[in-house]
């Protein structure tokens, strides 16, 4: 069914606040009326696609529902891209109407068939003749470009059915209490941003947008808007924890705090849990290609793992929990054999929310509908899923495959380590060597040999970092993904420079 229906269903509570975004506040009824008008604007433009360049807020749910009601796909783009980067991606979309926040207007130029500022779109939507097409449920509703940290950005096609299956399979309709509010600071071009804009109205929950993340502002908004749930990426959680430590804010209204987007270091999770003992923590794992969340470590799972004397149970704090009910998972060996619990391989997933389809490439699902995530993973005896990073990031040292996450998980527990990334740098002898890039804890210069022996004490000798280098911070993209390729390039460049004869 169409994602537009999710908003129609939310009209069960027409007077509830749907969106708070800066000065703009919209009830469900107002959002729906604007989406009808927005659909009229899109239909009248003759566009075959809508592109959005901006920081989001109310514009995201508005454009998602307007486009759905015009039966045209929409693509929120990464507003941090260069003018060239933006135009290259817009050129890949057919006859796009480009809606753009003022500050990115120059970068967009005359891309697409027509350009409207967000303010112009909003104003036109208020007065336009409404349109209400019925989109084919198997047609594409949203196209998102992958972040391209490991290869050129791919255009992931998510159908109406993918997205509504996700929302209806993981969220209970109208389950939010009057006054519940979600604080959203994930960017609009990220699948979690799209997921939030669809699932919160369906749950009947007010959306409070923080379009430019700032930890102090985040803490203020939780208090001012009575925020009951929020989702953050690792770098945001790190900054929020720092603010909580200095301000002693307790966030009494907050009931659940979800984290995800990429791996969160366990010491940070433990610190957050101890600072916010009344909050239920949720670790959500998902991919763009799976329409957001496919596995969840629930608040109860966190509590059970934290207090458990049993080693296997305690380890689950570092898992992404169990698959959501509408998703099936398999761990496969390189030859395609399905592996049992405790065995590491590639994660495959299947379910109605899984797209696995890219523009220009087609579907990468196998004949039985399984999607290869390219994530290294294993399941424990109880079905908890552990993610060991991208298979592309696997280090091959002297013919041995080494998952960086295994070493990172150990190293980050060292009291002198604040954060770390382990990567493979080129080496004439081993092919690749293990380099640990470490962000030291405040005001400390860790001892390199001490760090190496810390790892050697807990993992096989072949996992010991060959080199340890220090950095003030790790290079990450806006959603907290470590840019490993940048680190590797930097290390390889240093290596070749240092080897030049003096």
């Amino acid at each position: 069914m169409s994602i537009s229906l999710l908003l129609e269903m939310a009209l069960a509570n027409p007077e509830r606040t749907a969106v708070v975004s800066g000065q703009l506040r919209l009830t469900v009824d107002e959002l729906s009326a604007l989406a009808d008008g927005g659909a009229g604007v899109i239909a009248a433009s003759g566009a075959e696609h809508v592109a959005y360049v901006g920081t989001g807020g109310a514009m995201l749910p508005l454009l998602l529902f307007s486009s759905a009601r015009a039966a045209v796909p929409v693509t929120p783009l990464n507003y941090r891209l260069s003018a060239d980067g933006l135009r290259t991606l817009i050129d890949r979309l057919p006859r796009a109407l480009v809606v753009v926040d003022d500050e990115y207007r120059d970068a967009v130029g005359d891309a697409g068939v027509r350009v409207l500022s967000s303010a112009e779109f909003l104003a036109a939507a208020r007065t336009a003749e409404p349109a209400a097409e019925f989109a084919d449920p198997d047609s594409v509703a949203v196209v998102l470009f992958t972040s391209g940290t490991t290869s050129a950005p791919k255009a992931v096609e998510l159908t109406h059915n993918n997205l509504t299956s996700y929302v209806m399979g993981t969220v209970e309709f109208d389950s939010a209490a009057d006054g519940d509010a979600a604080l959203i600071c994930v960017p609009p071009y990220h699948i979690a941003g799209v997921g939030a804009a669809l699932s919160n109205p369906y749950a009947g929950r007010k959306m409070v947008y923080l379009t430019t993340f700032d930890a102090a502002e985040w803490v203020r908004l939780v208090g001012d808007e009575g925020v009951t749930s929020a989702t953050v990426v690792p770098t945001m959680l790190d900054r929020i924890v720092k603010v909580l430590e200095t301000d002693h804010a307790t966030l009494p209204s907050l009931r659940t705090l979800a984290y995800g987007g990429s791996k969160v270091a366990l010491p940070l999770v433990r610190k957050a849990l101890s600072l916010l003992p009344h909050v239920g923590f949720v670790n959500a794992y998902g991919l763009t290609e799976t329409s957001s969340t496919i596995a969840v470590l629930t608040p109860d799972d966190h509590r059970a793992a934290l207090g458990s004397p049993d080693e296997a149970a305690a380890r689950r704090l570092g898992s992404v929990g169990q698959p959501v009910p509408s998703i099936e998972v398999q761990i496969r060996a390189e030859d395609g054999t399905v592996l049992g619990s405790g065995e590491t391989g590639e994660l495959f997933v299947r379910g109605e929310q899984v797209s696995g389809r890219y523009t220009g490439i087609g579907s990468v699902l196998d004949e039985q509908g399984w999607f290869p995530t390219r994530d290294v993973a294993y399941l424990d005896d109880e079905g908890y899923l552990f993610i060991g990073g991208r298979s592309d990031d696997t280090i091959i040292r002297g013919g041995e495959n080494i998952a960086p996450a295994e070493i990172e998980d150990v190293l980050v527990e060292h009291p002198h380590v604040h954060d770390c990334a382990v990567v493979g740098a080129e080496d004439p002898e081993w092919g690749q060597i293990i380099v640990a890039v470490v962000v030291p804890a405040a005001d400390i210069t860790p001892d390199i040999e001490d760090l190496r022996s810390f790892v050697r004490g807990q993992l096989r000798g072949s996992r010991t970092p060959d080199r340890v280098v220090f950095r003030g911070e790790l290079p990450t993209n806006a959603t907290g993904k470590v840019l490993r390729r940048d680190l590797v390039a930097e290390l390889n460049a240093e290596q070749s420079t240092s080897k030049e004869p003096a």
């Binding site: 069914m1 169409s2 229906l5 129609e8 269903m9 069960a12 449920p137 209806m168 993981t170 969220v171 209970e172 309709f173 109208d174 389950s175 979600a182 994930v186 979690a192 941003g193 997921g195 939030a196 699932s199 919160n200 749950a203 929950r205 749930s229 989702t231 659940t256 979800a258 995800g260 239920g280 949720v282 959500a284 957001s292 969340t293 969840v296 629930t298 608040p299 959501v324 009910p325």
Partner: protein, 100 residues
């Protein structure tokens, strides 16, 4: 067969549902014993609720039958949801915490 996404209303109580997963069985979907009709269409005022099918239903819950059909209650009412005279079963799902 009724299309997924079709919104239906009861003729004898407040119940409204949306078809999440259609099946042929839903051609005989009833609430309180009376056939459901598309939301906004005329209601037969001569019908009344069958007291043997008046257990009610719950807002936001999904109901299923043996044929794989699934409907979601968007407005609760007094009538029992049934296919013919066989009541639909509530689909029990452990609620997940908000994750995005």
């Amino acid at each position: 067969m009724i299309k997924n996404g079709t919104r239906l209303q009861s003729q004898v109580c407040d119940t409204q549902v949306i078809v999440v997963r259609s099946a042929d069985s839903l051609d005989d979907l009833r609430a309180g014993g009376a056939p459901l009709v598309p939301v906004g269409s005329d209601v037969d005022g001569g019908l009344s609720i069958d007291e043997s099918l008046a257990e009610g239903n719950l807002m936001g819950k999904r109901y299923v039958d043996d044929a794989g059909a699934e409907v979601l209650v968007t407005k609760a009412g007094k009538g029992t949801l049934s296919v013919g005279s066989t009541p639909l079963a509530i689909k029990e799902a452990k609620p997940l915490p908000a994750s995005d």
